[in-house]
Amino acid sequence: MSASAPALPAPEHPLRLFALRGARVLAVGAIISALVSFAFSRTVLNSFAYGMSITMMCWFFIDGGRLAVARWVHRNAPPDADPASLRWPGWPWMLTVIVIGTFIGFSLGNGLANWITGRDSPGILSSNLRQAMGLMLISLVPGLIATYLFYSRGRLARSEALAQTAQRQAAENQLKLLESQLEPHMLFNTLANLRVLIGIDPPRAQLMLDLMIAFLRATLSASRAATHPLAAEFARVADYIALMQIRMGDRLQPQLDLPADLAELPVPPLLLQPLVENAIKHGLEPHVNGGRLIVSAVREDGQLLLRVRDTGAGLSTAQSAPSDGTRFGLQQVRERLTTLYGAAASLALTAADDAEGGTLATVRIPIASP
């Protein structure tokens, strides 16, 4: 997932963005100046000279200060950090930047306007304390508002982008899940068997088709229900095994152990499916003589233990060359367990420890107290 398309829109060049914001501030400054000149019936030239100079200077020092301070604050950030967050220094720093930026911006802007108009409007330093405070406050407000708008807009864009990414990932996962369950090799081999059976043994062909239908129906609807009874889970596994048995014959010897008192326990649908598939695909199918496949459920210390065990090829080969599908299958079981039960559930894949060899997959899930 991490290697696929970048989650956020490609970042634009910071200088271009800076200039773009400058242009916007220029427009806003022009409007403010026009309003001031209209409301206080000042001369247009004076209003524009002071309005524009002070606005632009304040913006320049606040926005420039933000970038400079943000760069300094994040100087140790990893190179792959999200560039948008790298341009935001955090509120405490930002407030400092606004106050200092406004002070410098106002003073320089005022000086610039005095020089343009030839008048002598008092700056902050040359006014008395009360006047200075008033000037500062009036100048701070637009800076604060602008900063807040900038900040929340950035956050909105970010969260939108994140939501989009999450949606796409969910869709991709769904597709991968379906692909791993409807594995093409299994599908076409089954169809090939079906084609043969139709000619030589129609009743068996019908049985195989029914199993196939049950398997497809279960696979396609698995995502709709959160849980189903363990007995239903075992029935789906039995369907799948029966399907594989038609293909593999004696090489697949299944054994399903479900104690009656556990039959009604709720489990996530098709949780065992990928484990059974792995046991057949990597344990028994590659093994010349095939072997046994044992699926069992037991209660132990208030937990439900589901075991899928084969007497096939064993872990060393299965683990060192796991195909993408296998890894995805296991990872998918783990993810589902984590989502549903947090740390209380687990999946372990170990070498079976008796003479028959093979692999043992153990799922532990907590039994909810009724």
């Binding site: 076409f188 068997n193 043969v196 059976l197 593999m248 014959g249 060192s320 060359a321």
Partner: protein, 266 residues
């Protein structure tokens, strides 16, 4: 004499079906054996020397591709020409591309009668060509095809291994990769031979190979990979068989005909 064929397919129903379809499309073709895994395909193939072999790609143990490789390496020189090989697969997009590229014949499962009829026609004409008096042995062309397929089937290179960790009792011996003279397959294990001693590691040669630097470690047989710096010379005997002499080690290594092209004077 009627042409003969061998079928290697692990699913009994599909094997029976292929046999039945072939009987209908090509009644003269005599199926001399039907086997369920790769090793049996090699054994029966060498023993019965059929004209045509249908090899399922995904079989227990040795795959169809590996079986074809083993057959090509062990095929006796003074015997019938190498069998015409047809691969059979349910679904394998990468293998199919490789088949197309190497002009190897294949059939997809479920077997479509029309497609199988085309294959039969091609096989018949190839067998007729072979029967002509001026026909040349085809092993060279088969080798080229197999080399193409094996190259395509090779897994992408993982990070190259620097040290071989060999467990001996309670100790793990660290063998720098530069000290290894050659690797030799031994059932599910690999023998690691250095100038001083040898170790056994629990991995198959097939799993080990992608972890080796292909520039330095050359496969010379399906069961042997040698460090090329360790080769002193390659000798060719009267029958054309290549043998490698190593630096600082008495072992002599046989090069299979599939890899003989690696050794030629500059």
């Amino acid at each position: 004499m009627n042409p003969t064929a061998l079928i290697a397919e692990d699913e009994p129903l599909l094997a029976a079906n292929l046999q039945a379809e072939l009987a209908r499309l090509w009644p003269e073709l005599e199926i001399v054996a039907t086997v369920g895994h790769g090793e049996a395909a090699v054994d029966h193939g060498l023993a019965l020397q059929p004209d045509v072999m249908f090899l399922d790609i995904r079989m227990p143990g040795m795959s169809g591709l590996e079986a074809a490789q083993a057959l090509a390496e062990d095929w006796p020189d003074e015997s019938k020409p190498f069998p015409l090989i047809v691969f059979v697969t349910a679904y394998d997009q990468y293998a199919l591309q490789a088949f197309e590229r190497s002009a190897v014949d294949y059939v997809l499962k479920p077997v479509q009668p029309d497609r199988l009829a085309q294959t039969c026609a091609r096989l018949k004409s190839a067998l007729q060509q072979r029967a002509l008096p001026q026909a040349v042995p085809n092993l060279g062309a088969v080798m080229d095809q197999l080399r193409g397929l094996l190259g395509a089937a090779a897994a992408p290179a993982a990070a190259a291994l620097r040290v071989i960790q060999a467990g001996v009792g309670n100790a793990i011996h660290m063998v720098p990769i530069d000290e290894v003279l050659y690797f030799e397959a031994a059932d599910k294990y690999v023998r690691v031979i250095t100038a001083e001693r040898e170790h056994l590691i629990r991995i198959s040669l097939r799993e080990l190979q992608p972890q080796l630097d292909a520039q330095r470690f050359w496969q010379i047989h399906r069961g042997t990979i040698v460090r090329c710096d360790a080769i002193a010379s390659a000798l060719r005997d009267e029958s054309g068989k290549l043998t490698l002499i190593l630096r600082g080690h008495p072992d002599k290594l046989g090069v299979s005909r599939l890899y003989a092209h690696l050794f030629k004077g500059m």
